[in-house]
């Protein structure tokens, strides 16, 4: 079959057909994958919550509430973990814009009195091999069980108590700052029982 001539009608009609078919196919695939994508996102969130709070029997995602951040239009998402109706811990999705590669997102688990139960790293663009070590136990363990009201979340270089990652002071600073933000906002606007 001979190739179509490049007349205006042929060009317009062939492009219209190609784009129509492509968008119809994409719409179909989008509908098909919508469910699994939502499920994958939810599973990831629940995994992070599980990692930072203690045993619970409610559904923290359904009971999520927001605390507005002072001096900003953003707010933090708080996932309360309850057992038998009693608040055990809260997972707070927090961030710091001061990472080495932009925002560092953490899930911080705080006990009702504000002390740190555990911290999970959600999203970041820190340097592989340096900043990414914030996800390692060596670094994270120094925060566990500490209460930011007595434990200074700044790095030692800035007069705080945090032993910074070598070669990743900026990441360590952002990590502490994000945790501090979660603590401050939780003490101000969070549910404590």
């Amino acid at each position: 079959m001979a190739k179509k001539e490049s007349t205006l009608f042929n060009m317009v009609s062939s492009l219209v057909v190609v784009t129509l078919v492509a968008s119809a196919a994409l719409g179909y695939v989008y509908e098909l994958t919508k469910g699994p994508i939502e499920a994958a996102k939810l599973a990831k969130k629940i995994r992070a919550i599980d990692e930072v709070v203690v045993e619970y029997d409610n559904n923290p995602v359904d009971e999520m509430y927001k605390i507005p951040i002072e001096g900003s239009t953003d707010s933090l998402e708080v996932y309360p973990a309850k057992k038998g109706g009693i608040l055990m811990a809260s997972a707070i999705r927090t961030y710091s814009p001061k990472g080495y590669g932009g925002n560092v997102w953490l899930m911080v688990g705080l006990l009702p009195d504000g002390s740190i139960n555990n911290i999970a790293v959600l999203e970041h663009k820190e340097t592989p091999g340096l900043g990414t070590k914030m996800n390692g136990d060596d670094f994270k363990n120094q925060f566990l069980g500490k209460n930011p009201s007595t434990f200074n979340m700044k790095v030692e270089k800035d007069g705080g108590d945090v032993d910074a990652l070598s070669g990743a002071t900026i990441t360590s600073r952002a990590f502490g700052q994000a945790t501090q933000l979660a603590f401050d906002m939780y003490m101000k606007g969070g549910q404590h029982e």
């Binding site: 179509k4 490049s6 062939s14 492009l15 492509a22 469910g35 699994p36 994958a40 599973a43």
Partner: protein
């Protein structure tokens, strides 16, 4: 050229990474581990295979002057399919590869095969060409990813075989250039002696 050659040329003779030096952006960007390299390679293979087949099927209906926009729409559609499917079923890998998945659209291997091969050949040859080129690309990315992971983190596919820190440089972007350079030199040596 026989169909067998259409398939095998992508691995060695015309390997997209080692010989044609195409698609350097994902090659250098995502190969910090073997699994990332393989995942990226297979995602690109799917796009190459499907776009080659479809473009070779519709080549006679597309007027010459608008063939590039038409090809790009077809390629972009398959890339979006890969992006959505990976986000749904392989969320961890999808997160690791991040922006590089949508960027398959502008991978010059894909448009290169569409323009240089699929728009001039029959469906079966185009399919084999896309598959061969894609798998050759995956092989190259897997080799580079394995090399960088072994040297950089002393592990392979996430399994650590020595409890120690590797040579950090190979995980970082400069290590990608170094590792790729040595691999190409090695392949060139093989090609000369073979």
């Amino acid at each position: 050229m026989s169909n067998l050659q259409n398939f095998t040329k992508g691995f060695f003779k015309e390997n997209a990474v080692f010989v044609q030096l195409l698609g350097m952006c994902p090659t250098l960007g995502v190969t910090s581990t073997a699994i990332n390299g393989l995942g990226m390679g297979l995602a690109t293979t799917f796009v190459l295979l499907m776009s080659n087949v479809v473009i070779s099927l519709v080549k006679n209906f597309i007027p010459d002057k608008v063939r590039i926009p038409a090809f790009i729409v077809i390629i972009a559609s398959f890339v979006t399919v890969v992006d959505l499917v990976m986000a749904g079923y392989l969320p961890d890998l999808h997160e690791q590869l991040g922006l590089f998945i949508p960027l398959i659209v502008v991978n010059c291997i894909v448009l290169g095969r569409a323009e240089a091969f699929a728009s001039k050949h029959a469906v079966v040859s185009s399919m084999l060409d896309g598959l061969g080129m894609g798998l050759g690309f995956s092989m190259a990315l897997l080799m580079l990813g394995s090399l960088r992971e072994i040297l950089g983190s002393l592990s392979l596919f996430g399994f650590k075989f020595v409890e120690a820190d590797g040579i950090l440089l190979f995980i970082l972007p400069p290590g990608a250039f170094l590792a790729l350079g040595f691999l190409i030199a090695f392949i060139n040596h093989l090609r000369k002696t073979a």
